[in-house]
């Protein structure tokens, strides 16, 4: 039982100071996981949910005895969504005895961390650090920038688009598509792949608009909505998250824009509230690896326990896959050595959180699993018990994308130690 994060952090800080003065590393009696994500500032909303998820998982795994005879411990490091700050915090985590770091928010941060882990491991042989990525989806991380030390449990943005377009393929009501995305690497890669895939799968679909707007800087989306409206689009695809998603939908509802929304992050914190506000009942779809109303009993129980504890939904089912697989890999390798654990993880098959088998592809360290399309709106409380953010509305699973329909090639040329 964690009394409070203040206590935990204060103890840690004290320990860190002691270790510095003694000039000795802490005894390796736990498997420390450095959680590096925003815990202050605007990004903290998601970062804190992530930290809670990992704390929940550490308790779950420790209740089963940990791994290789050791207990897990997660330590939160605030990276303020800043790449440079992330590197400082990664250094702190490693100094505090963590050999595993995990991060998810921001492709820029992820790219910096991959680079750092590569260099750190090259320069500090025998002290290798693993970087487990639970949510950064820039495809480049498992393609041109792939690394032996990096594993990704979230489907990358291309895979999600592959799944999404496979779902859209037979939908004949989709005729005119508008793309609106945030102007940074993720939004750019999303729009490019969306164009390519739609063209290949549905050449009849007309892309009537392809918009990039500044990241987290737009306060009034009505001009963009006016443009979408003028284009005559019937479907919008967007990778927007956080306020860029909420504001976009709000402006759409205000202007009475009647289209279907295909999204990546409608389920993110604040997203459901925004959709409910706009009244877009079952018009907003999202692609995720598992929804709260998943019929699998184990997932439902976890969802229930998580909500009881933290009063929020399981936002990161993939983190469950990540941690459970990590424990399995440590047990398999019977070691916490970075290289050995990495080898144990490669090609590992695993029964995923939402049911079905997933696996890590050895070539690029990308995790594959069945994906689902969900639709947000009113729910049948008897069959679908979970609503979101107290809105009364919830996610309804409307399609399953088989693992084979999520498989994409890669350009990774991995160098192995």
């Amino acid at each position: 039982m964690i009394a409070s994060s203040f206590k935990r952090r204060a103890t840690f800080a004290l320990a860190a100071i002691t270790s510095v003065w003694c000039g000795a590393a802490l005894a390796q009696d736990t498997i420390k996981i450095g959680y590096i994500d925003p815990l202050s500032g605007p990004g903290a909303t998601v970062g804190e949910v992530g930290l809670k998820t990992f704390q929940f998982l550490v308790e779950e795994l420790n209740a089963k005895g940990g791994a290789a005879g050791k207990k897990f411990e997660v330590i939160g490091y605030d990276n303020k969504t800043n790449p440079q700050e992330s590197l400082i915090q990664a250094q702190k985590a490693v100094d505090a005895g963590a050999r595993i770091i995990t991060q998810g928010n921001g492709s820029g941060v992820a790219a910096a961390l991959v680079d750092w882990v590569n260099k750190y491991n090259e320069r500090n042989p025998g002290k290798e650090v693993l970087y487990l990525n639970y949510a950064a989806v820039d495809p480049i991380l498992t393609n041109d920038k792939c690394s032996f030390w990096h594993f990704r449990w979230d489907a990358n943005s291309d895979i999600k688009m592959e799944a999404l377009t496979n779902y859209m393929k037979p939908k004949t009501n989709i005729k005119k598509v508008y793309l609106i995305n945030q102007d940074y690497s993720f939004g750019q890669s999303l729009r490019t792949i969306a164009r390519t895939m739609l063209k290949a799968k549905r050449p009849d679909i007309e892309i009537v608009g392809d918009e990039l707007h500044p990241l987290l800087k737009v306060t009034d989306f009505s001009p963009y909505i006016a443009k979408i409206k003028a284009s005559g689009a019937d479907t919008v695809i967007t990778g927007n998250w956080s306020q860029d998603f909420a504001l976009l939908l709000k402006a759409a509802a205000d202007a009475g824009l009647n289209v279907e929304w295909y999204t990546y992050y409608a389920g993110g914190t604040g997203g459901p509230t925004a959709i409910k506000q706009t009244g877009l009942n079952h018009k907003v779809f999202a692609i995720v690896e598992s929804f709260p109303n998943d019929e699998l009993p184990s997932a439902r129980e976890t969802e229930k326990a998580f909500r009881a504890k933290y009063n929020t939904t399981v936002l990161y089912p993939r983190a469950f896959n990540e941690m459970r697989m990590l424990a399995a890999a440590i047990n398999k390798a019977n070691s916490t050595d970075g290289a050995k654990v990495a080898q144990a993880l490669e090609d590992m098959k695993f029964e995923v959180y939402g049911g079905g088998e997933g696996f890590i592809r050895k070539d690029d360290h990308q995790f594959f699993q069945p994906m689902y399309i969900g639709s947000f709106g009113d729910i049948d409380k008897a069959k679908e018990p979970f609503d979101e953010e107290g809105t009364g509305w919830g996610w309804r699973q409307i399609a399953k994308i088989d693992i084979k329909d999520t498989m994409l090639g890669n350009t990774c040329k991995m160098t192995r130690p």
Binding site: V208, H213, P214, P223, A226, A246, D254, A255, T269
Partner: protein, 351 residues
Amino acid sequence: MGRASSLPLNLWDGATGNWVVSFGTQHFLIKRRGNVLELVLISTLNGVLYGLLLFLMASGLTLIFSMMGVLNFAHASFYMLGAFVGYQISKWAGFWPGLIFAPLIVGGVGMLVERFGLRNVHKNGHVAELLFTFGLAFVMEELVQIVWGKAPVDYRVPALLDFSAFTIFSTNYPAYKLFMLAISLAIFVGLFAMLTRTRVGLIVQAALTHPNMVAHLGHNVPLIFMLVFGVGAGLAAIAGVIAGPALVTQSTMAGLLGPILFVIVVVGGLGSLSGALVASLLIGLLQTFAISSNVSMADLFSFSGFAPQPNTILNDLWRVSVAQIAPILPYLLLVLMLIFRPTGLMGNRES
């Protein structure tokens, strides 16, 4: 001469909804989907609305800056505070009491800040005052996050105004936006009347044009300063209360708008309320229209057949669209204005 003009002449063909771009004798047809007139009308309305919202904040900032010499970095924070207090009241008592009381409460907070903070810093000069408000913005954002959290709060448009007022072609225009427009206009008119018709207004006006004169007026200068700061904060709070339900109410909302306000104050001209109005509308329209334009250099000069090498800086510039640079246009305007007309559009003071 074959080409009369090197500048493209843009013509909108109303019958087909297409734009014709002519270079001398060459004509290029740019096909637009949907109705351009609709886009122009909606953009104008949105631009004016956004501009008026900006003016609600910029007017207070101008007043404070002109009279007290304080560039109030925390001004947008009062806007944020207004939205959150309005939200809190709306949860207890509905939207309308929030509209009345939130600005009063925030105005009171502003007065307290002036009385117990700024006034003590005043003796250390304008830089110290500016830095004080800089720190205050920091602290206010943190406090709001502690009280209301970091996620957006569910601030609703009142049911009374939750319908669409009219439809242009096929776009609904929400009644709430018209209401925002009306409130902003009413406050603008009220502010103007107060400044031209009342005694305090005359003092304020005198101070705007002759900042050193205030001290010689013999009135209770500290009290006037406190009131001006309070009114400025209250005006920002009104903007917050009415913008909160339409936009997102979140602790980051101050940081997004703050720098734009400075741009308005400088572009409009220091110490000029009418300048602030013009600049607010200008920036509101500029940004709104820029967003609705997808044109890039590559489009404009596509006839030339010129295409820069990929992966060069020139190529980046060549392909960027007007919509993408929309958010930096205000700053570009600011820099150009300061270089070519440092007193601003309507200002008469240089600094």
